[in-house]
């Protein structure tokens, strides 16, 4: 029962997210809108119930399980890369390497600047 109650909260917020997406016409998925709404609600309430914490921990621990069926499709659509697989591969590998390093560098740089700014205050 405890888990079900938390799960119900998550599903309701997902439905609310979908409602916001459709009614306002946002190009963002209902799941992400629901996530933002859950965080905002919890911040307003100032605490999270055990049921909700349990249910979300459970779902997050099986995230990989939920993603894997979609990923399987890649092996069955490989032929659509045909002719351009090399540029796609280079773009993905080099692009991801560059963007990962850039993100870390930016974080380090801006976090460092912030502490410096504090010391000047």
């Amino acid at each position: 029962m405890v888990l079900l109650r938390g799960f119900l909260v998550l599903v309701v917020f997902f439905l609310l997210g979908e409602a916001l997406r459709v009614l306002v016409g946002l190009p963002i998925s209902g799941g992400v809108l629901g996530m933002v709404m859950v965080t905002a609600t919890l911040m307003l309430r100032g605490r999270v119930s055990d049921q909700l914490a349990e249910a979300s921990r459970g779902l997050i621990s099986v995230l990989v399980l939920l993603i894997s069926p979609g990923v399987v499709g890649v092996f069955f659509i490989a032929d659509r890369f045909a002719g351009h697989w090399f540029s796609v591969a280079v773009a993905l590998v080099a692009g991801t390497l560059l963007s990962s390093v850039t993100t870390l560098w930016l974080m380090k740089k801006t976090a460092g600047d912030r502490t410096q700014g504090h010391s000047h205050d």
Binding site: S29, G31, V32, M43, L63, V74, T96, S100, A111, R114
Partner: protein
């Protein structure tokens, strides 16, 4: 013998009319992948999601049920991705004090890093003369799957190619963020987590939860913000 074959065909038909065979295959592959992952010493370049997908693809191909039939049954599991995305809001709230402490670097990094995640890949593919439909499919490569599929369709890309790009990007981001953090001597779980979520969406986030709950919360934040940012701005700046 022919009668036995006929029965086997009938059994396959009975098994595949409901979703249970797909669910059993997916659960078994997930558990086998987790077991194997621990067994071979948790290599970064072969995360459980990739192992599970390889095992599943082999099982689907070998069983002869066909990808379409498998996918229909597996929908009973994949619909849970919606509430699971919502669930990421809970660790986000629980780690809010960490996020407050780092709000400036997060806000400074996000727009540039999320844009570059798309621009680097699209730029490289463009330089290599890839057609427009491929560029559109690659653009949302660092965005979480449900949003990325919407963006790819809006820009005129192929959803299947986008999902392929997402998988490869997620796995590569897990490896590259780890290398980059070691190279730049970053040991802050918050920064590593944020970079994982921003570049590697749900796959990077799953990886971040393996590092620590704090890294996981920052990955959820990075993934969510990148998704929202890219969905709002990519359709306006995609220049064709």
């Amino acid at each position: 013998m022919t009668e036995f074959n006929g029965r086997m065909q009938e059994l396959l038909l009975v098994w595949t009319t409901g979703p249970m065979l797909s669910i059993a295959l997916t659960l078994a592959a997930f558990m086998a992948a987790n077991w194997l992952f621990a067994k071979v010493g948790r290599p970064l370049w072969m995360p459980p999601v990739l192992m599970a997908a390889v095992i599943l693809a082999a099982a689907v191909a070998a069983s002869g049920i066909g990808y379409e039939t498998y996918q229909q049954g597996a929908r009973w599991l994949t619909v849970l991705l919606g509430p699971a995305t919502v669930a990421l809001g809970v660790p986000l709230y629980q780690q809010m004090h960490h996020i407050r402490a780092l709000w400036r670097p997060i806000l400074c990094t996000l727009p540039l890093a999320a844009s570059l995640a798309a621009v680097y890949a699209v730029g490289i593919a463009w330089l290599m003369d890839a057609p427009l439909s491929i560029l559109a499919s690659l653009a949302p490569k660092s965005v979480t799957a449900p949003i990325a599929m919407g963006i790819a369709e809006q820009l005129g890309g192929s959803v299947a190619l986008t999902l392929g790009g997402l998988l490869i990007t997620g796995v590569l981001a897990s490896v590259f963020v780890d290398w980059g953090a070691k190279w730049m001597k970053i040991s802050d779980d918050r920064m590593v987590g944020f970079a994982l979520g921003l570049n590697g969406h749900a796959i990077g986030t799953a990886r971040a939860f393996e590092i620590s709950p704090t890294a996981g919360a920052f990955a959820s934040l990075g993934m969510g913000l990148t998704g929202v940012f890219t969905a709002l701005f990519l359709p306006f700046v995609f220049p064709f």
